[in-house]
Symmetry: C2
Subunit: 431 residues, 2 copies
Amino acid sequence: MAVPYSQLSKEELLKLKEEYEHVLKYYKDRGIKLDMSRGKPSVEQLNLSMGMMDVFHSESDLKCEDGTDCRNYGVLDGIPEAKRLLAEIAEVQPEEIMIFGNSSLNVMYDTMARAYMYGIFGNEPWCRQEHVKFLCPVPGYDRHFTITESFGFEMINIPMTPTGPDMDMVEEYVNNDPEVKGIWCVPKYSNPQGISYSDETVRRFAALTPAAPDFRIFWDNAYSVHHLYEDKQDIILEILTECKKAGHPDIVYKFTSTSKITFPGSGVAAIAASPKNIAEIRNFTRIQTIGHDKLNQLRHVRFFRDVYGIQAQMKRHADIIRPKFEMVENILERDLSGLEIGTWTKPLGGYFISFDSLDGCAKAIVQMAKDTGVTMTPAGATFPYGKDPHDSNIRIAPTYPTLTELQTAAEIFTLCVRLVSLNKLLEEKAE
Amino acid sequence: MAVPYSQLSKEELLKLKEEYEHVLKYYKDRGIKLDMSRGKPSVEQLNLSMGMMDVFHSESDLKCEDGTDCRNYGVLDGIPEAKRLLAEIAEVQPEEIMIFGNSSLNVMYDTMARAYMYGIFGNEPWCRQEHVKFLCPVPGYDRHFTITESFGFEMINIPMTPTGPDMDMVEEYVNNDPEVKGIWCVPKYSNPQGISYSDETVRRFAALTPAAPDFRIFWDNAYSVHHLYEDKQDIILEILTECKKAGHPDIVYKFTSTSKITFPGSGVAAIAASPKNIAEIRNFTRIQTIGHDKLNQLRHVRFFRDVYGIQAQMKRHADIIRPKFEMVENILERDLSGLEIGTWTKPLGGYFISFDSLDGCAKAIVQMAKDTGVTMTPAGATFPYGKDPHDSNIRIAPTYPTLTELQTAAEIFTLCVRLVSLNKLLEEKAE
């Protein structure tokens, strides 16, 4: 049974420190170069979709079901069969969805940009409003925060709980402050914690009565079908349906994509929303483009056929990445359990494990890992402005490295956690 | 030798009118449905690029020359070989170009949106400036105008001349009015007239000394390699080079795409600009997306290999569309020559023929053609706000229909021109 570091004497801590520094030097001397920083699928996962490169065999293959030649201009919304497929992934109706290009991040950015430039439902464009605030559940996805920051909006941290964002706080802000225009959500297998919102959380979102008439929930359902286990899966309530039931059909934009289903760089992204929202989005998107890549939409439909094809694909993905998650979890458990120097999440899906160190240690851990050849997501990145108030959260992305690489990377990581924690405790004892 | 309508007596005009109305009725009774409205490649042209669907044969095929797996995330600027290929099309250096998604219209929109939201080179964002004006050479491309109108900018008509926009007027506005932030240009085989800017015009653009520090030329080089003839081709000066020579390297954004080289809906678009402009664009684009579709970039490079492959492809396109342009020109010549009721352009490339009717006749001609089953671009569309001050310009897009369809469409068109002109002249005589 491991003894918590806090109960060790200065001498015991020093002894451990010396021992671990030897191991660290051993790793450093090996000239390691590993990357656990981004949620990228591995080569093995990419190979699962190679069949998609080979779905067109003749000119007639390039027509979608309504006879449109997918090579030519047109079809702003997406081809019917792609709308149906993405609607199934997003658990909405085809008339509630619009298909875009290869990047859901770009769709989210454009959605915020439209509100900024043109306004929502005839309200003053956000660029003309004195002060705009956005709620950011933390820890969260750095790229959401970067978009928001680029428009100069004030970002407000909302702590995550095991059932989703702190809804008391969300309600307090949204229902009373007309400057609060939106909130970022990754409702399922959240980035980075892998938390899925409880039914109560989703219902409380749907029941919001925003002070701002142009408030929107940015519901980034990036990991909706990205389960790790067949027998243990999170299920969340469908937000459009709940909003409709609650009488607020228009307060949410839902985003999805096939980026981590097929090819991250060449997938298909979509937005789902109420028909009234979709009509507005369509009117503005019409100015921006004649249409997105329909051949790529058709490629996806031909390859998967339907949502069952998607489900089969996600099981193949799970078979590849589950051992990686389990390996990292086992190493964290083996090396850190009982030491009381860190906690971590054990998600049932998604792309990340979230680690919380002792306060004030995250930056040092990530730096030490980097110096030893292991790149992690920069500490702080999971918070707006890159500022983690406790300097404790670290995002672990286990999917891209091979199992062998991952083992080394995880072992180096836990070693860095131990060493930095020892240093902190020693400093405290010195004070 | 045809006699000008203006020299005919009322009786002669009435006789012609009766005759032509019989022919019109004959066409109407046939229930024709033809489309000469948009610059869309024909199916035969699309088939020229079918080989592009078949360039990847194994996993290793999906790596670009620097070893990057094009299926995964990353590479914001575009893969090196795609930058090189598009740079050759755009006649710039690879470091002066960034590759985007499938739509150059989207790139232009985003470029204006960035200036609107963030400003250029640290200047006040256009959304914060009291009044923004944009110069619009007319007749021009309706989608340029729609973008500009969506941001609420004032659009100012600049008449086109046979050598490009009226440069006295352009200089007067740009060099003196700090509210003038930009100008739209289609410098080669312009939309809709097929005019190519003379060397003097390009040099005068490069020599502009804008009153606004954040003025930009939006140089939409949509038809740079889109010649109709091998032995008669327009050549225009390269604008980035000229701007550099003139000491104003940063005043231009140049746009290009493969939309009318491969597949309109699934091509690759790019922006070319000075390294300082590119650096700024890259910094903002980084917020918007992780990267564009690299597989599609690679597909293009594999299919064409280099600019010689592009040139060969454009000759094949020309072989298909040249007879269409010639047929329309021959019918215009045969039916309208000498009547003094219209003039038209005879471009050496691009996608359009521009027709100018007697003043006040364009809307009626397009409406009559529509009632007879032939869809044309709406009259007025070639002007900002859809307002052609003379109601005379009509854009003819001959590429999409088959030769047989085109013959009927062109004959109906000239018939409508004659009838509407007769009506106008008869009305004038009645006054």
